[in-house]
């Protein structure tokens, strides 16, 4: 069986970084990993769904429709946008509740959906959905909302929504985060201990 993780958010939130953590951890556990990293305009506020798939043998780099096992949304509206890949029999959601309103929404005076509405959109596509204020918590405790992504991985593991071992994530963070590793590890542990 292939386990499919879709990571999404807005440019600058560390979606790519988070996907590298998951991919490296899965590789460390001996799985074959495949996925996508599309980053044409990622750093300029665009949306960037990133796919990571792991299993004994994997094929397509992209997750087929309705086959995501975990959707890790670092921004609530982007999490809702990826429902195409979700399926209520299969998909767990971890959603960072920190909204990032796009400049065009403001200019066009579009209404940015409330968190309750996002919950309502996701519910019919989710086996389980966990909303966590990770960016704000990390902003307060670690001084930067960016660590919210490592915390979200911790929550996914403690909620049983990501079948990877704690120690592989720890090793992946050490390999990937460089001088920020200490804070990412702290955020990851905060996620593991987070109670819903």
């Amino acid at each position: 069986m292939t386990f499919n993780v879709l990571l999404t958010g807005v440019g600058g939130e560390g979606v790519l970084f988070t996907s590298v953590l998951v991919a490296r951890a899965a590789n460390l556990e001996g799985y074959e990993v495949r996925g996508t990293q599309l980053h044409g305009l990622a750093q300029r506020g665009g949306q960037i769904p990133t796919h990571v798939r792991f299993g004994r043998q994997t094929f397509s780099p992209t997750i087929p429709r309705g086959e995501a096992d975990l959707i890790l949304g670092l921004e609530p509206v982007e999490a809702a946008r990826s429902c195409y890949f979700a399926n209520r029999k299969r998909t767990g959601f971890i959603v960072d509740t920190y909204p990032i309103v796009s400049v065009y929404s403001r200019m066009l005076r579009e209404k940015y959906p409330s968190l309750d509405r996002v919950r309502g959109m996701i519910a019919p596509f989710a086996k389980k959905a966990v909303f966590v204020d990770a960016s704000n918590i990390c902003s307060g405790k670690l001084g930067d909302p960016i660590y919210g992504n490592s915390m979200a991985i911790g929550v996914a593991i403690s909620q049983g929504l990501l079948p990877l071992k704690e120690k592989s994530i720890v090793q992946a963070i050490k390999q990937t985060a460089g001088k920020y590793a200490a804070k990412d590890l702290q955020a990851f542990r905060m996620g593991l201990e987070y109670s819903v």
């Binding site: 590789n27 495949r34 996508t36 990293q37 980053h39 780099p61 429709r65 509206v77 929404s105």
Partner: protein, 614 residues
């Protein structure tokens, strides 16, 4: 420069690499000694990774001024016996093509690999959905086509081997879903690169004139025949059945994802030359053939041609059931081949209905907070108004196409802003302004500017000089002041180039000063003939990265008085928010450029106290 350390991992290890990183690893395992590139996504990470590791791994790397120069530099190194590689995107190959074709004739000495990344669907391209497999045919140049990251590495090595053995340049073609896919890669051993060589004069070899020309042409064709036979080993068959699927690239992975039973799957690793022997053998005895290939029907036409002799009754499906436009996906292929193979399709009707109810605000890419281009666009429009033809070009500033600016009326290709505007001005009296970036100026802007200056229409050319090739990930160019390997270099100042063309009306201003910008636009607008405004301000994203490394942050601006702020709607900075009719600046998002404080009534926006800065 940051790069994925795993690219230099020990032989035998299994690591996760991006397709583009795997190509770099393949080059290292082949002993490549020289690379020159011009960035173009989806191929940019090849050069970015080379730039990061060149010193450590001991080969030469440069970001050249454009793809043609990069390819020529690689050809020069190859003529001296040094293995070389250039990576470019499909449009980059268009630029380089003038030299690619003759290189195929004169042949190479050190292996020469041209990695070309196509971008069906246009994830990172806005010109055309070009299929460069056609290029391989026009130039009679062999082309390999990996379908995942492991093959990106392995095929790069094979491409070098093929190139040296037959003395031909070899294309390694990826598409976005291969170049930007990630995957587990088993590493081989890195070979020590050979970086020095010597050019040996050989008239018969290097001059493509008749009658040598025809001999060369003959050799090129003969080599293709040999390559077709020898490298048939890159094509393979999996499974058996009366129905066959013939495929290549990422479509092969989509086909495997479907887990089809009783189907014979043919995977082509070499897109040119296609193997007559392989395809004939594959279709013999089949009842039905489905060809899965994105974009052009190249394999399909080839198979149809062979089927006439080998299997005239064969029913062939290709572009009649699958699109010639955009990308494929597992779902699309399943949908289209299900009626032929009688396989079950998942029922998504309920899901479709639910998805329809999800209405979300669109999110488009924007210019960063503090982007110098925003300030320049604002000033030019403020002075010249709306009734102007705005010529666009390739770079971050093409984001000026969106509201509220709408200041890119057309965008064709690198440097085209100048040539097209020239034509417009020669037949129309409309006021015209050209926007061109610094990297694009060096890449393809100079010939257009020379032509304009010589034939002299009245045009204002705004060079948006942020000091770097920003959009593709901050690669240096000849105006930057350091090279692809991070060595200091003497920068070429764009104003010196412009003045040397004999253009008299030239101003250089600070992009972050509205007063300077607006004054210069007014002044230049009143001059006859061509004038050039160089708006200079460092890419804010690059500056942010540099500050972060030093542990520093930008000052943050805040709103201290709320009247007369509506002008901010025309500025569209993502850091400025509006809630219940009130504006405020998000301190997390402000990158401290100060321009908003210059356009609102004096004193309305002020820098925050030192220390509360982000």
């Amino acid at each position: 420069m940051a790069y994925n350390q795993d690219v230099l991992g020990k032989g035998g290890k299994r690591v996760v690499l991006l397709g583009n990183e795997a190509i770099v690893r393949g080059a290292l395992e082949a002993g490549m000694g020289f690379s020159a590139c011009y960035p173009g996504t989806p191929s940019s990470e090849v050069g970015l990774t080379f730039a990061g590791i060149a010193k450590k791994a001991g080969f030469y790397f440069e970001w050249s001024t454009n793809e043609k120069v990069a390819l020529e530099a690689c050809a020069g190194a190859s003529f001296c016996g040094v293995k070389s590689l250039t990576a470019l995107k499909h449009f980059g190959l268009n630029v380089a093509s003038d030299s690619v074709f003759p290189v195929a004739y004169v042949g190479v000495k050190g292996g020469l690999v041209i990695n070309v990344a196509d971008d069906p669907y246009g994830h990172s391209s806005g010109q055309s959905e070009e299929d460069t497999r056609r290029f391989a045919r026009v130039g009679n140049i062999p082309m390999l086509e990996p379908s995942d990251t492991q093959e990106c590495k392995d095929f790069t090595k094979i491409a070098f081997e093929m190139s040296e053995r037959y003395e031909v340049p070899v294309f390694l073609r990826t598409t976005t879903m291969v170049a930007h896919s990630t995957g587990s890669v088993k590493l081989g051993r890195i070979r020590k690169p050979r970086t020095r060589g010597r050019f040996v004069k050989d008239f018969e070899r290097y001059y493509c004139i008749r009658p040598i020309l025809q001999k060369m042409h003959e050799r090129v064709l003969r080599n293709l025949e040999r390559i077709e036979k020898e490298y048939n080993k890159l094509n393979r068959v999996e499974g058996r059945g009366k129905t066959g699927i013939l495929t290549t690239g990422v479509s092969y992975q989509y086909a495997r994802e479907l887990g089809l039973k009783g189907v014979k799957l043919g995977k082509l690793g070499m897109s040119h030359p296609l193997s007559r022997r392989f395809v004939s053998g594959f279709i013999r005895g089949l009842k039905t053939l489905i060809v899965l290939e994105e974009l052009e029907p190249i394999i399909e036409d080839f198979a149809r041609g062979l089927a006439k002799d080998v299997n005239p009754k064969l029913r062939i499906y290709g572009k009649d059931i699958l699109p010639r436009i955009g990308e494929y996906s597992t779902e699309l292929i399943r949908e289209r081949i299900a009626p032929i193979l009688k396989i079950r399709r998942p029922d998504f009707r309920e899901q479709d209905a639910r998805l329809k109810r999800i209405k979300l605000p669109a999110r488009k890419a924007v210019m960063c907070p503090g982007c110098p281009h925003r300030s320049t666009f604002y000033a030019v429009k403020k002075v010249l108004g709306e009734n102007v033809v705005w010529a666009g070009d390739i770079g971050c500033y093409l984001l000026g196409i969106f509201e509220p600016f709408r200041m890119q009326d057309f965008v064709l290709s690198m440097g085209a802003s100048l040539g097209v505007t020239h034509g417009i001005r020669k037949v129309s009296n409309q006021k015209a302004v050209v926007f061109i970036g610094d990297s694009t100026f060096f890449h393809a802007g100079m010939p257009g500017l020379a032509n304009m200056r010589y034939n002299d229409p009245k045009v204002l050319v705004v060079v948006m000089d942020n000091g770097i090739t920003a959009m593709t990930g901050h690669q240096p160019h000849p105006g930057t002041g350091y090279t692809g390997m991070g060595e200091r270099a003497n920068p070429i100042m764009i104003e010196d180039v412009v003045k040397s063309f004999g253009i008299k009306n030239v101003r250089v201003v600070n992009s972050f000063s509205q007063r300077e910008l607006q004054k210069a636009v007014k002044e230049l607008d009143s001059k006859p003939g061509i004038s050039v405004l160089i708006s200079r301000g460092m890419c804010r994203l690059l500056m942010k990265k540099m500050l972060k490394r030093k542990g520093r942050r930008f000052p943050v601006f805040r709103i201290v008085q709320g009247r007369g702020l509506e002008v901010l709607d025309k500025f569209a900075c993502p850091a400025i928010r509006k809630k219940g009719g009130k504006y405020y600046i998000n301190p997390e998002a402000c990158w401290g450029c100060s321009v908003c404080s210059q356009i609102v009534p004096p004193g309305a926006i002020k820098p925050g106290v030192k220390g509360d800065a982000k």
